[in-house]
Homo-oligomer: 136 residues x 4
């Protein structure tokens, strides 16, 4: 079990939603925060920076949004499903837009963009899977 | 002019949207981040903490969401209106829910909740006013 | 009085340190978070980006550090002076290094760097003034 | 290899310091951000909240500090060893203070505090190991 999973297990407030989907989403959000922060920095160091401007910007936004989503989902006290739902939708969108941008550069050989695109895809999927089981 | 306004003015990337609405929204987001962080802490110190659990939790979420929104709006390079729109909607919702909770406690004499409710209302309004002029 | 000041005033936990210095430092930290976030973005859009790489990087670090310092100082419950002290020292250093870098570019006509350098200087001073009255 | 490790590997800017120690520290910082955020929430839900006030507060500080440290270390462009050093020292201290508090409650049977104390210890060690190889 992941650290996030052990923390959910040991909280006095048990989530009303599927714990496995919640755990996976929290982990994917923090992974994506790290990857997007790294990718913005790696893009900044590339020669073709002009071409990577949009990627850097989306990486910075996506890192902030995933960070906030990971923290919101880590809180179980007085969980507000309506707020969680819109935050998850925003996070899925950020990951979709950022992942698509990274994927293009990944295909042209930028390995950091390829890895980041994968992390964005996994986070987008994890958000969508949690949305599917989230009862509002 | 606010600091956020001067920074917008001096950026090589001029926003396509109303600069006054953007400036007001950035300032309101960072104000609300501070106020919600303080309010969570003040609620934690109150005697009636049981009653304030939901307020503390929403304060923490709202602080994170306003922080992320303020940063996203501070970036003008490759501005993505679709992502900005959903983030602003999420922020307006967080401020509405958190502001409503704080307002209740403010009416019962908790001054920190009353001030925080006002900051949430201002931020919600600033988000909605920016949404009204944001062309996607 | 600033919002941060009103929140301090209304908290059940009254700070043991000079409230005016604390209020000024919280406000300076959040101002600097915004300014550094904007400055990183403006630098990214400049033609001479190669020359601005260090500025962008320091802006991103300084934004994160000021944000964290502003939040830590906003919390009065079980205030740990030792931790506050090292965080303030770290924040003052980040602002000094980032401010010095920005100042150079400001002198060459980059207005966003000039404004950001000022915000960094104000935040560095506010941290140092709070450190001077912080009893460990 | 961890995601953070793959990102370091693929960045155009290769770190001058031990990559394994850097990777381990980045991962430990983001793990600790998640664990401390969860622990603050779990403590909030416990009956003995009065006893846990200091733990909640330190969890919130430690989460912010680890988050900022993980992001700073994820950036390799124009890496400033002096700033990295003080940030790592601050993070090690935050983890030590927060970990010690959590450990006490963990010994009294609070499983979330026990897990969080372990994450804090691992992060403190990872910071100290990176400090040991960081040349200023």
């Amino acid at each position: 079990m992941s650290l996030a999973g052990s923390m959910l297990q040991s909280s006095p407030t048990q989530p009303h939603i599927n714990k496995a989907a919640l755990e996976a989403c929290i982990t994917a959000c923090f992974d994506c925060t790290q990857t997007c922060t790294s990718c913005a920095d790696a893009c900044l160091a590339e020669q073709q920076r002009e071409m990577l401007l949009r990627c850097i910007r989306l990486d910075l936004d996506c890192a902030d949004i995933c960070d906030t989503t990971g923290k919101l989902l880590s809180r179980q006290v007085a969980f507000d499903s309506t707020l969680a739902r819109v935050m998850l939708q925003t996070c899925a969108l950020a990951c979709r837009i950022c992942g698509a941008e990274c994927e293009q550069h990944g295909r042209r050989g930028m390995e950091h963009c390829r890895i980041c695109a994968e992390a964005c895809r996994r986070c987008e999927e994890a958000c969508n899977q949690l949305l599917a089981v989230l009862v509002v």
